[in-house]
């Protein structure tokens, strides 16, 4: 196995803001809160931070909306002195982390502050803006292929890919239900989760539909909140407050001839399948070595696609694997989204999954702690982009 740069990098600090279903704290302040907590958690000072990365990109002075804090905003508030920074696109919500690993490997930085801050409750979403009436906006780029057909949401796009997969393999909504039901049970053990009351099969099957096969409980919960992680060079993190959680492998790839939601040769695969393959090529570990999975669940089916993409079962077998929820429960063979995921905790948009994976590997997950955990996998994104991280608490 070649010596890949990620093996010399780790997560040294974690920070999360309050998670708000209703607009209550200005989203930019949530981003600052998460960043300060991550630096303190690592046992570092602000002056130790020499790199910064966030996603998505954007100019300074964001404050709210889909991205509530740009690099410049946090830099200015914390007085960071940066040798390197990035707000680049890339492997979905893991772009900051994977870019930071690259920067550390290149020697640009030692301790990189990475964050994702969402303030989508503070500002009207696309659909709310339309609901206000008035002329419809012109659309460009990817949206031109969807919005003219009144399909403006990733819920619709994911539903189209999921529908093809369900049809091909005979997967049912009763099988899908295991994911929101199990995750809601996990959220009951997570004091920070937005929705913690148990979800029953009857409630799931009786819920209002959003876009078939997705009902309300198949769609994640928009919120205002922020997550920050410190990515450090491994040898510089050995004597810090927390045990370093090492990156065993990263996956970010785009290998199909036409990488869009619908035009791939291997439809109904998505970009996550490329990312997952790329990740496994960089490690000797195998799916059987993984003790917990923290997979993007903007919609139920994305987590299902991730499970297949990562090779936990054969193509088309995810329905049978999750059915009834036993295997993906906390005491099952592959605990999934132990914090409740975005379906219950809230849409922290990817970095929430990394936050939970690291908590679990540190043994800090409280009542929902997975026993004897050594390796966790997390994957984010889906359709038009994707990124995967394999993490371990074992020494190199």
């Amino acid at each position: 196995m070649a010596s890949y740069g990620e093996k010399q990098a780790c997560v040294s600090g974690l920070g999360q803001s309050s998670i708000n279903r209703k607009p209550s704290v200005y989203p930019f302040k949530l981003a600052v809160e998460a960043c300060l907590r991550a630096i303190e958690d690592a046992g570092l000072t602000i002056d130790d931070i020499d790199g910064a990365a966030c996603w998505p990109g954007g100019v300074n002075f964001l404050g709210e909306g889909p991205s509530a804090a740009a690099v410049g905003d946090i830099k200015n508030s914390l007085g960071l002195k940066l040798n390197w920074y990035s707000s680049g696109e890339g492997a979905a919500m893991f772009a900051p982390v994977i870019n930071a690993i690259g920067a550390i490997a290149a020697g640009y930085a030692t301790h990189v502050l990475c964050w994702r801050a969402v303030g989508e409750r503070w500002v009207p979403t696309y659909s709310h803006a339309n609901a206000a009436g008035g002329p419809l906006p012109r659309v460009a780029g990817w949206m031109q292929w969807t919005a003219p057909y009144w399909a403006p949401s990733a819920a619709n796009w994911t539903a189209l890919v999921a529908g093809a997969h369900m049809h091909r393999y005979g997967i049912t909504r009763e099988q899908m239900a295991a994911i929101p039901i199990v995750q809601r049970r996990n959220a009951g053990l997570n004091p920070n989760a937005i929705y913690r009351e148990p979800l029953t099969m009857d409630a799931y099957l009786g819920a209002r539909m959003v876009t078939t096969p997705f009902c309300l409980y198949d769609c994640d919960v928009p919120c205002d909140g922020a997550t920050a992680v410190i990515v450090s060079r491994l040898d510089a993190a050995k004597d810090l407050r927390r045990k370093p959680i090492r990156f065993e492998a990263v996956g970010a790839a785009a290998t199909d001839r036409m990488d869009t939601w619908f035009a791939r040769d291997d439809f109904p695969h998505m970009m996550m399948h490329d990312a997952a393959r790329a990740m496994w090529r960089r490690t000797d570990l195998k799916p059987k070595d993984v003790g917990s999975a923290h997979l993007y669940d903007g919609f139920t089916y994305l987590a299902m696609f991730w499970l297949e993409a990562l090779g936990f079962m054969k193509e088309g077998e995810v329905g049978a694997f999750i059915e009834g929820g036993r295997r993906i429960s906390l005491d099952g063979e592959l605990p999934l989204n132990t914090n409740g995921g975005q379906l219950s905790e809230g849409r922290l948009h990817g970095l929430g999954h990394l936050h939970e994976a690291v908590l679990q590997l540190r043994g800090q997950a409280g009542e929902r702690q997975v026993k004897d955990l050594k390796v966790s996998v997390t994957g984010v994104g889906g359709g038009g982009f994707g990124g995967a991280l394999l993490l371990t608490n074992e020494d190199l």
């Binding site: 609901a131 012109r138 460009a140 919005a147 189209l160 049809h167 791939r264 439809f267």
Partner: protein
């Protein structure tokens, strides 16, 4: 379609790259970009053929026939002027499996839509833009 109320849609910004697609309906047909060297159909648009890298890519009329590769019945009122539920389909063109277009299916009751349903293109005019839509093909078994 003169007997149907035409509801407004978010319309595309027309550019050098996409005008052929959104305006070919004026000629009563659908056009898709195609590589003259290797014959690959390409959608969404590209400047070179992604298979053989030829620069000789240009719009070419297609049959307008296809099948429903997938569909979703949308219940969420994203647009208050559009009655829900409505069908959003993914139509796979007869010429090439991976040319898949998102579309609505006017003239197809929700209960009739199914994977594999044969469909054919029709157009809905919005000024100088002709939005390609699909109807069940004549004689299609709506199963």
């Amino acid at each position: 379609m003169s007997d149907e109320v035409v509801l407004s849609r978010p319309l595309p910004v027309i550019t050098e790259m996409n005008a052929y697609f959104w305006r070919s309906g004026q000629k009563g047909r659908l056009e898709i970009l195609r590589c003259e060297a290797c014959g690959l159909y390409i959608h969404p648009y590209a400047a070179l053929c992604p298979r053989c890298r030829s620069e000789a890519v240009s719009p070419e009329p297609v049959s307008g026939r296809g099948t429903v590769a997938s569909f979703t019945i949308n219940h969420q009122p994203w647009f208050p002027h559009v009655p829900v539920p409505y069908v959003i389909a993914l139509v796979q063109l007869e010429e090439q499996d991976d040319i898949r277009l998102v579309a609505n299916l006017p003239g197809c009751p929700i209960e009739d839509v199914r994977v594999g349903l044969p469909v054919e293109v029709c157009f809905e005019q919005h000024g100088d833009i002709f939005v390609p839509l699909f109807r069940p093909a004549a004689g299609a078994d709506r199963g």
